[in-house]
Amino acid sequence: MRSKEFFNNYDKRIIKEIMNLMIPENEEIAAAGDKGLIGKLEKLFFDSELHINSIKRVLNAINLNTDARLSGSFFSVSKEKKIEILKTLEKNMLDDFHILKECIFGTYYSDNEVIKKIGWDNDFINKTKFGEFTLKPNILDKVKKISPFWRKI
């Protein structure tokens, strides 16, 4: 199932805006939406009907929001208002919003530039020597002194 059938350009602009609000820019990297990650989000998640439907429901709720409608659209309200709208949806549409959040964070934190910036190497654990990681026997010295206290019956 391709996203094109489900999300028009207006929807995508809203998704991009939500991405920017959720993960704003920092000193080195642009905000998640401005970084142009929406294409990657589509690739990663829009092969799943469930993800598409959850996002659709959140977008519908945004479009139906009274404040957004009175101002013309979600884009016409202030940043604070946008955040307030999203926070309300997060509480009221727990599961759908959770899926949307997973899509956005999943996309951003699997981006190569971001991974490099945070110093993450998916494979770094395989390159580590594990010899030092064994249970140190003396670590149990104190707790071993506790007399058995399970309730007998």
Binding site: P24, S110, V143, K144
Partner: protein, 520 residues
């Protein structure tokens, strides 16, 4: 002449596999029906580039998100906790954390000891040798000598390392004079270098790191002659007469087939098992087979979880080692007359996640980057596992609005958190914060009730001596039938406050042994 099967086992997870192995070893003819397929090594997320993305999608804990052909829909709209499971050969052990403490002797006797709920019809000592047997086969890593638990034999594998983060926490427990102990776990602590390649979320683990039943019990059961029919969904138990099952119908490739057997054994977990019995309703068993007490599907217990994460000082890389098989505390396990709740909780330490799962636990918005930087690799978490007491108002029922890929009804979950559970969790959260502060940690966030945390499913066909208030007898046999058995967590009378799998498997082995004894 066609040889009739001795035991038709529905489900190949923790319990079904253990049962199938023991019966096959005794020479019985066993056929397992499993709605999922085998999962091959290269299907595990570890082998994929975006392993954390896999954990959000096809390896999601939640069947409603995965929506695989072999999953069935679960309507959670009336439950603050969502059931989680995996439905393939090996069942939820393909997906679990494998933190494997045992019940305490007191857990089986809460009525006698605390005058609440009901006692089990069996005791810890009825299960003890099966716990030991199971630990050997599942390959439990750990160390004996825990003062909070009865003595047990030397663990088959050495304990998992605590890691530096675990050591910091252990010393905080020591300072408070609180109990803690390295966790018993069905994870591979030996040959560490070759086998362990994981960090954070256990969905990222190397295949060989966790012990799943497809790799031990089932492999052996097959060698002993057991057969597994995969991609086959049990749809209905067929009765020969009012009290005797003739066999079970299953759907494979859209075709329904009846398999006949001397006994039917349900091992489909505490949601899947009542589902099959409810779907098997007949004119004489209108409310489902085994439901003369009216309790089938009722008394559903999860372990309600709270979660607290703190940030330890320094710039650390606390990613090494398994996610939540580190240490646990049972300082507050038992009923304490001075508190306003019954029973208690276990604390289970949880390690850092990879970047996506770290980020998901944080707030979004302007503070996100700051929080991420502070917490990534630096945190320590605690799962608080509260004992959930059984209540008839917590139940599962068939959901005809949401059908599975074979057109069978899904499940609807109706569950409310009890006042007692809430009190346990509130107290436990205060204590956990005390501990984290002792460890020098700054509290990052607290989750009073975890939503996607219904990984422990229990109680929906409880065992008991009295057929009026239980579904099976103390050998797992339905009171209403002479040859239908249950061997999974549905049998639980109470839930204790520990992860249930060793107890589920010990029960399956215990039921099997009693059948073997009866046959001989």
């Amino acid at each position: 002449m066609k040889k009739i099967v001795d035991y038709i086992v529905v489900g190949t997870g923790a319990s079904g596999a253990a049962f199938a192995w023991k019966m096959s070893k005794s020479g019985a003819r066993v056929v397992c029906i499993e709605q999922g397929d085998y999962v091959k090594n290269n299907q595990y997320p570890k082998d994929k580039k975006n392993i954390e993305i896999s954990a959000l999608k096809e390896w999601n804990w939640n069947p409603n998100v995965r929506k695989n052909k072999f999953d069935y829909p679960i309507d959670n709209s009336n439950s603050p906790i969502h059931p989680l499971m995996y439905n393939s050969v090996g069942g939820s052990t393909l997906h679990y954390t494998a933190h494997t403490p045992r019940f305490h002797p007191s857990d089986f006797k809460v009525k006698t000891l605390d005058n609440i709920s009901s006692d089990w019809p069996i005791s810890y000592y009825d299960l003890e040798k099966f716990y030991d047997e199971n630990d050997e086969i599942m390959k439990c890593s750990g160390i004996n000598g825990d003062p909070a638990n009865p003595p047990r034999p030397r663990r088959p594998l050495k304990p998992v390392s605590l890691g530096k983060d675990g050591e910091i926490i252990a010393s905080a427990f020591d300072k408070l004079n609180w109990h803690w102990w390295p966790s018993d776990s069905f994870v591979n602590s030996e040959n560490f270098n070759n086998n362990w390649k994981f960090y954070g979320s256990h969905a990222l683990m190397d295949r060989k790191s966790i012990s799943s039943t497809d790799q031990n019990y089932l492999e052996q059961a097959i060698k002993l002659g057991a057969k597994i029919i995969t991609n086959a969904r049990a749809s209905k138990i067929i009765l020969e007469n009012n009290y005797k099952a003739k066999g079970i119908k299953y759907i494979k490739d859209g075709k329904e087939t009846l398999i006949e057997g001397k006994n039917v054994v349900l091992a489909s977990n505490a949601i899947g098992t009542p589902r099959i019995l409810l779907m098997s309703a007949t004119k004489n068993h209108e409310k489902g087979i085994g439901n003369s007490s009216g309790l089938l599907g009722k008394n559903l217990m999860f372990h309600p979880y709270s979660f607290i994460r703190g940030i330890l000082p320094g710039n650390n890389k606390f990613f090494y080692g398994p996610n939540a098989n580190i240490l646990m505390s049972q300082q507050f396990y038992e009923t304490d007359q001075n508190k306003d709740f019954y029973r208690g909780f276990t604390l289970q330490m949880v390690r850092n996640n990879g970047p996506i799962h770290t980020a998901l636990e944080l707030d979004w918005g302007d503070n996100h980057h700051k929080d991420f930087k502070k917490s990534f690799g630096n945190t320590v978490g605690f799962s608080i596992i509260a004992e959930d007491l059984p209540e008839e108002t917590n139940f599962v029922s068939l959901d005809y609005k949401n059908l599975d890929s074979d057109g069978l009804p899904g499940i609807s979950v109706n569950y409310n958190l009890s006042a007692n559970s809430r009190k346990i969790l509130d107290f436990a959260m205060r204590k956990t914060k005390e501990l984290l502060m002792e460890a020098g940690a700054e509290i990052l966030y607290e989750t009073p009730l975890m939503r996607y945390a219904g990984w422990h499913l229990m109680g929906t066909a409880r065992m008991g001596d009295d057929h009026k208030n239980s579904v099976t007898n103390k050998y797992g046999k339905l009171h209403d039938s002479e040859n239908i058995y249950i061997v999974d967590g549905s049998l639980f009378v109470t839930s204790a406050s520990v992860n249930p799998t060793p107890t589920i498997q010990a029960l399956a082995l215990y039921v099997a042994e009693n059948l073997i004894r009866r046959e001989s």
